[in-house]
Amino acid sequence: MNFIFKLSDKILLTIFLFATGLIFSVVFFVGGSVQQILILGELIYIFVFLTTFVISRSLSKRLRELTFEVEEMAAGNLSKRLRITSKDEIGQLANALNELLVRLQTGIAQDVFKHREIAQAKTDFVAIASHQLRTPLSIVKWYVDYLVSGDAGEVNAEQLKYLKEVYRSNERLIDLVNALLDVSRIDLGTFSIEPEPTDIIERITSALKKFLPDIKRKHINLEKEYDIVPVINLDPRLTKIVFENIISNAVKYTPEGGTIRLSAKKTQHQVLIKIADNGCGIPREQQPKIFTKLFRADNVKKIESVGTGLGLYIAKAVIEKSGGKIWFQSPSLDLLLDKNKKDDGLTIDQESKGTTFFITIPLEGMKKKPGTKKLTSLEN
């Protein structure tokens, strides 16, 4: 037997009965005694009450069951379907939810497909960018080189100045392309880690080499405090990239006559490297963002327009992939205390807050990670 009463029908029926009762009572009021009318009224009242009670009870029970089932789906079980126990509005709701689920599932399947497509497009970008962008960049580089060397005829001082500007800009583009490639390799997880016994101090020295001319030009006071640290299994190229990215910032954002202090020491389970400067520091409100891709703090944009906002992102990705940690402190306590000492405890110059970057590398070193691509940024 299959009695189908839509909910609305049930309510209508109740109202109908109630109304009929009302009409009867009116009739009785005209023809019957007051007592009869009261009894009838009470009967109608009880009837309506019972009907409403039964309907609302079954309704709320069904709704509770539905809620329970939907919650289970929301928790991730999308292949589950709601039981359809009636053909009333609740049944229709369950049915509609089931259809929604089917759509959701197809949607997710399409998303996964789309995601794969995007990943593929990114990989293609890496290949295209490497080849298509680097080819003209190297052509410019080599021809400017060729002109500067005087092989193609004598170049006067003014021409040489302009050519050097062209060369510098081109180098900036090369750095940017390399950094972008690194980021896409990091994001895709395709970069490789190839550890070998590596001397960390040598890596710092090697990374520093690129910046020595700038350090000299800006009369930056370079301090080194290296303990004897053990040789660790690290990817030497990646390690150098990390140091280069941090040192590059220190050199760029430390004013003339400022100080950069590099230190390395062995603790129980790791090597701790500190790169401290008394440069412009990182504004407090922007500190949470500084490892974010493409982010550059407002104060450094004013000092130096050159910068991709990718260096710290790359450094963090590399260090964390190899089991280490990277963090910073700004204002830097390292050089601030010195400064206070020097200034005889005078007020701290707000413009030279300084920053210290801390990097830890576990003594067990980096784990080998096979990949199809190497990171290239700031490579020499």
Binding site: A127, S130, H131, R134, T135, L137, S138, I139, K141, W142, Y143, D145, Y146, S149, D151, A152, I174, V177, N178, S192, G371, T372, K373, K374, T376, E379, N380
Partner: protein
């Protein structure tokens, strides 16, 4: 450095090919420029140069294939110094080249022309010493 040395440069990008050719011939070397792998192979077998500069991605025949073919030549190709030039630092290609005794895999944007010349001269000098 003996300027009578002969150098084969295989590179499909014309501008790059002439930058390299002009640089080396400007110093006094004899340069054989080739615009693709097949042409490079032909010249290589005929001229048997003292050094080969080899691009990786090229039409007709890519650099790795050409490298293998050169190495098959026992008398000359087996020992001639080869420098690979690339814009794709793909470890697969690097390790493939290493199988054929090529350890200089230069990413073009990272190298100055003068440093390419220095490396090339170093390679040729090393081979002279060996012989």
């Amino acid at each position: 450095m003996d300027k009578n040395k002969r150098i084969l440069i295989v590179e499909d990008e014309t501008a790059m090919l002439s930058a390299l050719s002009d640089k080396f011939s400007g110093i006094g070397y004899t340069v054989f420029p080739a615009g693709d792998g097949e042409e490079g192979l032909k010249i290589a077998m005929k001229e048997k140069p003292d050094l080969v500069l080899l691009d990786v991605i090229m039409p007709k025949m890519d650099g790795i294939t050409l490298l293998k073919k050169i190495r098959e030549d026992v008398k000359w190709g087996d020992s001639v110094p080869i420098i690979m030039l690339t814009n794709l630092s793909d470890p697969e290609n690097v390790s493939e080249a290493a199988k054929y005794k090529v350890y200089d895999f230069l990413v073009k944007t990272d190298w100055r022309l003068d440093d390419v010349v220095k490396l090339a001269e170093e390679k040729m000098r090393a081979l002279d010493k060996k012989n």
